[in-house]
Symmetry: C3
């Protein structure tokens, strides 16, 4: 059942996602006035931390991204592009956010599929798919001294989780993996792009610890 | 020597500890105005991060909490309770802190016992028991942009460490594990409850880098 | 090819590095007014986090520092020295920074060599050597609520990376490991000491997100 996925296609898309994620790490690092090491390190971390977390948790050690140097090279190139691309305000524009959505969807479906192939149950496999997508950005924000934006800003992780759930449901239904993976990535990317352009946010609790119970701002 | 522990009892108590830890993650997330994803994610992280850290370090991969979905379900329920329990100021009250002490004691003794059963030496097994208990809360605080309270506030980790040490000493003495586990959990819970009600704190160094050597406030 | 390294020498130097790293964790913890648990925990984390990260990533579980209690004992002693050494302003002086450079160089070369011996490709092995050296300090800073200094302050990680690269190049050239390890450690220590005394910093990007493109301060 797990054959017939064109591995070259997945690798290419995965590499594209890694590159875009690396850009996001480098942009934040430059904004924080990190030095060139800090910029390249954050590029690498954003590109690989999600996949490393997933691989360590499913027992796939050494993680794929450690066992070869391709992802490393991709993220360093991404970091250098940002470091020398001055002025580079346009790198935080909508076009990069759309590319980031592409990376998110691809990481989420390939992450969930890899967890399933290691025998993880479908519920957690969907969560691990999501973590593959959001783990790099969370680590980036913690290292840059920020609360991970994914925890409180616009719709992001839920899009990745939707992709993971679709892959897991497809597995439970006995479908060949490629179809749910394509569908899941498409749903994630679509949700994320809509969130970017329409400002969609996940709901907040009404209670915030303030005695008069005002709603969030 | 490692038989005869009523596994159903341990699983039930472990589940209760996971639930209470999840509440603490959700309460902080709501206070930080995280969205529903952020609330549920922090609930899950607090409930499972300590055990995952221990399992990765002792080579028990995939970690128990990843290999099944029970803990995940428990933490999501805990997070939803907090998210919709408005107003919920009472969730941070003493009763929850006492439940948290229960979770801490249980996690510490089951964590140390699991480390021993994987062949870890008793000294580090006690430390890993403590980490099973405090790891979730530390990760919660880092993700919420705070210095982990366990490093500077009232007596918390030392109670968990005491539990781990008792389990390790019991192992070194060749006792059946259940007795030191029960005793260790009781000591931890008692220490922690006393700390809550009497404001016990661990000692601080006299030197704080201030030139006049004033004591800490 | 991987024989003939005097293991006793490496263990001794590794222990010295662990001790100095523990001092740096304890000093920051005391400055942050952590309690005695916080001080000792941070000492331990700084001494072992880099090696643990490397070992988890290369599949050497349980990590060496978990499988025995020597490093734990060394770091606790280091933490206690700082906790009770009042006043201890001199601990942050140049002499400690030079000892820290020694630890950095040793951790970087032993880390890279260990990664190579686990079959990791030379590019990533060099990076893992660097992570062995800087991982403890990064974790220290994150737990203390600071942006890791290694990302933005004076030349530090690049010195460790140079050591890792030299070990990897030596491996690629088929040299016996001891020679590149000694040379790599020497280069790292020299670079780091020069950075301390001459204030060397890695270059920063010209763009900082400010519209007028002013250089970094």
């Amino acid at each position: 059942m797990h054959a017939a996925i064109p591995q070259v296609l997945i690798s290419s898309l995965d590499g594209a996602g890694t590159f875009v994620f690396a850009l996001s790490g480098a942009v934040l690092a430059v904004q924080k006035r990190f030095d060139i090491f800090g910029v390249l390190f954050l590029s690498w971390v954003v590109g690989v931390a999600g996949g490393i977390t997933r691989d360590v948790l499913i027992g796939a050690v050494p993680p794929a991204t450690i066992a070869n140097w391709h992802d490393f090279a991709i993220t360093i190139i991404g970091g250098l592009v940002v470091f020398f691309a001055y002025p580079a305000e346009q790198l935080v524009s909508h076009s990069v956010l759309v590319l980031d959505a592409l990376g998110l969807g691809l990481f989420a479906v390939t992450g969930a599929e890899k967890a399933i192939s290691y025998g993880i149950n479908p519920v957690i496999a969907a969560v691990l798919g999501m973590i593959s997508g959001i783990g790099g950005g969370m680590t980036r924000d913690v290292l840059a001294g920020q609360i991970p934006f994914v925890l409180h800003e616009d719709l992001y992780a839920i899009a990745a989780l939707a992709a993971g759930v679709i892959v897991s449901v497809g597995e439970a239904l006995g479908l060949p993996p490629l179809l749910p993976m394509l569908f899941g990535a498409a749903v994630c990317i679509l949700l994320r792009v809509m969130a970017i352009f329409f400002g969609w946010r996940a709901p907040h609790a009404r209670w915030h610890g303030s005695p008069d119970g005002e709603t969030d701002l």
